[in-house]
Symmetry: C2
Amino acid sequence: MDRDNKVSITVIRRLPKYYRYLGDLLRKGINRISSQQLSKMTGFTASQIRQDLNNFGGFGQQGYGYNVDELYTQLGKILGLDKSYNAVIAGAGNLGQAVANYKGFEDAGFKVLSLFDKNPKLIGLKIRDIEIRDVDEMGDYIRRNNVEIGIITTPKENAQDIAEIYMKSGIKAIWNFAPADLKVSDEIVIENVHLNESLFTLSYFLNNKSDYSRD
Amino acid sequence: MDRDNKVSITVIRRLPKYYRYLGDLLRKGINRISSQQLSKMTGFTASQIRQDLNNFGGFGQQGYGYNVDELYTQLGKILGLDKSYNAVIAGAGNLGQAVANYKGFEDAGFKVLSLFDKNPKLIGLKIRDIEIRDVDEMGDYIRRNNVEIGIITTPKENAQDIAEIYMKSGIKAIWNFAPADLKVSDEIVIENVHLNESLFTLSYFLNNKSDYSRD
């Protein structure tokens, strides 16, 4: 992979989609696929797909298509899914519990070690085997347990405070579900799940059904 | 708005972001903003922003910037947020309850009328004022209550069955949180929230911190 060649974030956001489709193909025992077939599955054009994957070194051979297993493994490495990560969740309400319960994350190497909340009724409970602890202990816990990923599922009002604790205790990446734009230092990776934006996109299409082209 | 001019889906996905930032500006009492200032807030380039907004008829005047209130109102109309919608949620586990509890949706005109589940322990309970009903009654309920949006927060295995019920009972748009690619007829609008893809994007940036350019 050419480190000098900056890859656009739009391309990167498509990689997990390729990865997911390739995983489906593998499970079906399909081991070779053309960019045309990938185009049918993903809705991206074949030339878009070839261009995207070329950013990371040419997989695939003209006329032979891609080796699914190889491409899946390589994309997994590019996405950092060959490693494992420790994560914690701040906010043990419904959303925090839903994230803690989501088996797919653990299968992909993301292990939630603990949830944190300030509600005394929740502290001490367990979601699967994951304990809910007092948010006052969170910074210490992160430092002692080599936690790299901090998930925020608190209300909007508490999200920035949580982000501050994460930054001070050495968290490297924040996965933010609160509908707030967090201010974090440049070294912190932040990925937002803005559910409102997804809902508004749905609303747009509901009102303008034919008024767009997929790209 | 020129209906013959198909707008790219990438542009449309940016509109909710503009809308959110403009709402923040309005609440701060700011009533005029340049594309340069919007660029600083959103991270998109000023020319990108001008180009995006031109798709929907030129707002803004050269040298004067945009009228925040007017642009916010227009974008709201384009996104269909000047209307109200009835929604139901299939799957009343943690994620379904989290979505039902999310106040932002109702503020934007999306009203959840009922949750549905097959678990007898959940049926009859209420989340806020929203009752959890038996999923066997869902089709009838949708037809009787003019429900347009069906939300899916079931496990992956049940998602396609729910989508079939939604299609048969006249749902117009599906907001899908299950990590499954649903097969729906062309008339149905579908918007997926693929949490795995968001997490994998975070993982990519954690492993390749400087290896991208925002666009």
